[in-house]
């Protein structure tokens, strides 16, 4: 026993090599992601220069613009600015709603797949995974193509006599919502599936033996047990939805603006405002970090219990 432990400690000879082996990964991500994110935070406290770019003097102008309105020439007493808060609020409820709908469709799907025989389970999972790997841009374009005023969906509805005039879905919040739901649905199914697959069905049997109805069992036994999977799925849908750019840009219009479009606009051409774009990105990142921290703490509590 001691001998094996000793040879195990000797390992396979990669101990002294961890530094050199990890160096490329550290360097790449450290220099080209971590450092840029820190620099972006610095940028959000700089002064805007015309023609895009910044002037390296400290300023809170970007955050001030986000929260307060000082009139057209900046000389009026500050009043709360609602434009950007409205965009954030819309992004949060669109992302929240997309998460809820994904959950309503995703949970039964995940349950259904996890209760299939082993060989068909792999095929079902594969079918769910494939769309995830298909280019998000192409998927969003295909949804736009399908939902257009003269698109196949409206052709079908009018052709079958269900409708007289086309449904105008494109450029509405509904279209953006459908886009978010469609984009991130596989993210909901996969973690819930992983949780249901580990679920011990004897618990359900026990509940049934004690005369619990199927739905009571689902509510009282199944949902609490698979909760970590559900929370993981919700995070995986909510976080990318919050910063989504393609769905609001390609399916929405001026009234469906979300955070992603707001940020992108600040870096386009000379009309942009880099410090403001950086500040909005910092606020978005902070929101995401809060969500992830709440998630980590909730998971920690669940494990302790």
């Amino acid at each position: 026993m001691a001998g094996r432990a000793a040879s195990g400690a000797a390992g396979t000879g990669y101990r002294g090599l961890t530094g050199p082996l990890l160096l490329p990964a550290w360097a790449m991500i450290g220099i080209f992601l971590l450092l840029p994110v820190l620099l972006m935070t610095v940028y959000s406290f700089l002064t805007r220069e015309f023609r895009g770019g910044v002037d390296w003097t400290f300023s809170l102008a970007a955050y001030d613009r986000f929260l307060l309105s000082r009139g057209l020439f900046g000389d009026e007493p500050p009043v709360p600015e609602w434009t950007y808060i409205t965009i954030f609020w819309r992004s949060i409820w669109q992302a929240g709603l997309a998460t809820l709908i994904c959950l309503i469709v995703g949970f039964p799907t995940a349950w259904f797949i996890a209760t299939r025989p082993l060989h068909s389970r792999a095929l079902w999972l594969f079918m769910i995974t494939v769309p995830y790997w298909v280019n998000l841009l192409i998927r969003t374009v295909s949804l736009r193509f399908l939902l257009r005023d003269q698109g196949p969906l409206n052709d079908l509805l009018i052709g079958t006599g269900l409708l007289d005039s086309p449904l105008r879905i494109i450029n509405t919040n509904l279209a953006v919502q459908l886009g978010l739901f469609y984009s991130y649905l596989p993210f909901m199914v996969l973690p819930i599936y992983a949780a249901v697959e580990r679920y011990n069905f004897a618990l359900s049997e026990a509940a049934a033996d004690l005369y619990a109805s199927r739905w009571t069992t689902l509510r009282e036994i199944v949902l609490p047990v698979v909760r970590p999977g559900i929370i993981a799925g919700c995070i995986l849908v909510f976080v990318p939805s919050l910063g989504a750019f393609l769905a609001p840009d390609l399916l929405g219009g001026a009234k469906t603006y979300m955070i992603g479009s707001l940020i992108e606009e600040q870096f386009k051409g000379s009309q942009g405002n880099w410090p403001f774009g950086a500040a909005v990105s910092v606020i978005l990142m902070t929101l995401v970090l809060i969500v992830l921290m709440v998630y980590t703490r909730a998971r920690g509590r669940a494990e302790v219990r």
Binding site: A9, Y14, W26, F32, V141
Partner: protein, 270 residues
Amino acid sequence: MAGCPDIRRYPGFAAMAALCLTILYVPLAVVIAYSFNASTSLTNWGGVSLRWYADLFTGVEAPRFRAAAWNSITIATLAATASTIIAAAAAVAMVRGGRFRGKGATFALINLPLMVPEIVTAVATLIFFSTIGLMTGYLTILIAHITFCIPFAYLPIAARLEGIEETFEQAARDLYATRAQAFRLILLPLMTPGIISGFLLAFIISLDDFIITNFVKGAGMETLPTAIFGSVKQGIKPNILALSTVMLTVSILFVTLSYFVNRLGQRSRA
């Protein structure tokens, strides 16, 4: 007795699963179907034809698409190769290196590209390149792609490594194999399915990326997704449907390949 299969079945769940697949596949199927439409109009069906596929090679936009395809494919190949090598080295250190200081931080760093919202990564990268004065273009796209592909390549490689017992290499070392020999003759062949799988996933992720590329590409530089986006902004045309179908097929092909390589690996392990 009857309760046994019953507890697994809920009314409506099967219908929901069917609905889920329908939602996921109908838009793609519609695009594929209409890409074979002979008509110039998107609305009317003019019979089956390959004219829009021919248009990709001979049409007005053909030179633009050709340049974009070349950029996309070379960037994806280079980025996937580089990120796979970096990820494989990191995975060996993380799985085989025992405990070391900063292991948790390193794990967080490797997964950082998955944590930061894509649009934030895009903004941060653009600001960084513009500050250090690196001209945006091919090189900046490549650097950004290598960076965000690392976790995608890392995950399958690390998963594969964790399933390989150390005893094989230890036996080789006991028989006086050098560390290099043990790696080349034992560990590398065993981890190859994970490496291939990681490479394929990194390749698709790079090929598919739009948001980050759009920020760091600079003027005049296009990859396939940015070219498609530019065209779609002027309205969807049939040639875009054909191009989308081609890209869709490539993605599905690669995922299927990665899936089977993984399955093959699992069988050889068992």
